[in-house]
């Protein structure tokens, strides 16, 4: 069993402890937070045997194999570097790093220390994300022409409330503020289909009324972007107001197109008219209904096998990361894709600053 430690005992740390235990490949032996009370609460609620408020001491005393870094991103470079220097592999919460330059330092440290790193880009491991990988590998869609993605954000939810009620929340200090904290999830779905040369166009603005607090009001809540990389384009909407809160991707291929809904855990091929005239327009809804029905029964099967947890995708990602750590398997998220996400975020943030 891997000996695993967690640094950063905020709300996402619960998910790490639960999913590490569900995967069953490692044991959470210690947690750490510079605020001792926060380390205490996670250790008490989750029955973790050791807790620290000094990361160096945890590394020194606990002989960890893997460190999960769940702190705000400003600390990721320092903590990941310390962990790898101490002989640990590192699984890092998103955002991977505040800037691409800092992300490069983490990747370079991993190369230098021959340690494995990964990041919690979990949506590609949702059932529709995995199915998309299979379809692309089988050439079912042909070449990718365009990707269109939507990501909704609920400002009244657990995470949104924390940001909206606290002007000192670390999200407000990120260059791209709210979007900086979610773009990893948005762009991680796209980068496998893009190259390292790209152009970016952006619209970002605040749609909600002013609260009177300058820091909170400086946070935009609506983002649109268009990326072109060679012959592939990608567009996206990140919205705090559109309902229902979306988690979707449409992949337009030269042979066929598919629509993924990560929240509903469905993937269907796009409707197309195969018969002529008005009669031909009669059948697509029936065909689509049958496709959705197949998704439903697949999900029922997953549920019956206890493979339908809300964070099932994270379990699969962690399992593959631990394969890389223990058996030298390929990185579940290639470092070049992590860096591409970070560079794209830098560019989008740059463009955001230019918008009025």
């Amino acid at each position: 069993m891997l000996r695993i430690g967690i640094v950063g005992c905020g709300k996402i740390a619960d998910g790490h402890v639960e999913q590490i235990r569900a995967v069953g490949r490692g044991e959470v032996v210690a947690v750490c937070d510079r605020e001792p009370l926060m380390a205490e609460q996670l250790a008490v609620r989750m029955n973790v045997p050791a807790r620290y408020d000094d990361f160096a001491r945890m590394l020194d005393e606990m002989r960890l194999d893997v460190v999960h870094i769940a702190t705000p991103p400003a600390a990721h470079v320092a903590l990941a570097s310390m962990a790898m220097d101490a002989g640990c592999h590192a699984f890092i919460e998103k955002p991977f790093a505040p800037t691409a330059a800092e992300a490069e330092r983490i990747v370079e440290k991993a190369h230098a220390t021959r340690k494995r790193i990964s990041v919690n880009y979990l949506y590609n491991y949702e059932p529709p994300g995995l199915e998309l990988q299979e379809l692309l590998a089988q050439g079912e869609l042909g070449e990718v022409v365009h990707l269109d993605t939507a990501y909704g954000y609920n400002l009244a939810g657990d995470y949104g409330l924390a940001v909206m009620t606290d002007p000192q929340h670390w999200v407000h200090a990120l260059p791209g503020k709210l979007f900086h904290n979610v773009l990893d999830h948005v762009l991680a779905k796209l980068v496998a289909h893009l190259g390292d040369e790209f152009t970016v166009q952006v619209e970002a603005f605040r749609r909600r009324p002013a609260s009177g607090n300058a820091i909170i009001d400086a946070m935009a809540d609506e983002l649109r972007f268009l990326i072109r990389s060679g012959a592939v384009t990608a567009s996206g909407i990140v919205s705090a107001h559109a309902r229902p809160v979306a988690q979707t991707l449409k992949v337009y291929g030269t042979k066929d197109s598919v629509e993924l809904d990560y929240a509903a855990r469905t993937l269907v091929r796009s409707a197309q008219q195969t018969q002529p005239s008005a009669v031909g327009r009669l059948f697509p809804p029936w065909v689509q209904a049958r496709r959705y029905k197949r998704n439903f029964w697949r999900n029922v099967g997953l549920f019956r096998r206890h493979e339908f947890h809300y964070f099932q995708c994270m379990r699969i990602l962690l399992g593959r990361f631990y394969d890389a750590v223990e058996h030298g398997a390929p990185d579940p998220i290639p470092p070049e894709q992590i860096l591409r996400v970070c560079r794209l975020i830098d560019r989008i943030v740059d463009e955001m600053r230019k918008t009025p």
Binding site: C9, E18, Q41, L42, D166, Q168, S211
Partner: protein
Amino acid sequence: MKVLVTGAAGFLGTRISERLLAAGEHDLRLHFRSAPSARIAEWSARYPAARIETIGANLLSRGSLDPLVAGVDCIIHAAAGMRGSAADMFANTVVGTRNLLEAAGEAGVRRIVLISSFAVYRTIDLPDGALHDESVPIEPVGAEKGSYAYAKTRQEQIFEEYRQRFGFEAVILRPGAIYGPGTAPFSTRVGVQVAGFFFSLGGRATLPLSYVENCADAIVEAALRAPAGGVYNVVDDDLPSCRDYLRAFRREVRPMRVVPVPYWALLAGSRLLASYHRRSKGQLPAVFPPYVVKSMYRPLRYSNEALKRLGWRQRVPTAEALALSFSHWREHAS
């Protein structure tokens, strides 16, 4: 006496501030996190002699709270995390309290009144029909009762640690289910709404209600008159059963499709769900674990005698408080 109210822009904090002014306490410092109460201009007009300061502060910002507590004689600490994740609730309740007490202790604040909760009590050992007064012990940890109970229990422990360290006069109030226009109508003690049905869980158990105006009266009474070390439950008189409350709500506010769940069925369902939660590695959350069901859904009797000995009297009778609340919820049904 200069009184600081933390969380003064909140549902309860606003009423506490108002009652302090009505009680003749005219030197107030009102703390807010995001924005001050919208009613301050109205209070300033009604109490022209009053000195009402507002001060924004993040209680999580350790070491920056000296201006908040400087020159204060008494703190009524009503700020707490009521929503969000377990970690956020803990941070906003416990870490914030530690930071405030640290600053208050260093500044020599003489008296601190903590607004705690019924959630801290260890009621699992009480027999059905037992009297639930201040002599019931509090949970040693509280984590088994959920994240809110854990945070409030740890908050009381921190409060006691800092009382011993700095020697301030400590008073604790533990309100039951605070309600009134502006709250959600249903405590989980009554039941939960799922898929268009209301599952009635409380049955004949008494609902320990505290109307927000009466609760604020009790807090102000205790802040001004309670002896150091005083602990007070805050509940109203003439408490309805959960079933009667639900019946009145359906009659006065809106009809609902209600599924009554007897205690034995709730406990059996709770055990079943806890077992499935373990087997499925958390595929469904273990809401209402057996410990919570046994702690919260059995019939107990509630006492406010300690408060009455202090001089508190229920200003808004329960029938009137319920009528006011029902009327508000009816008008805001959408």
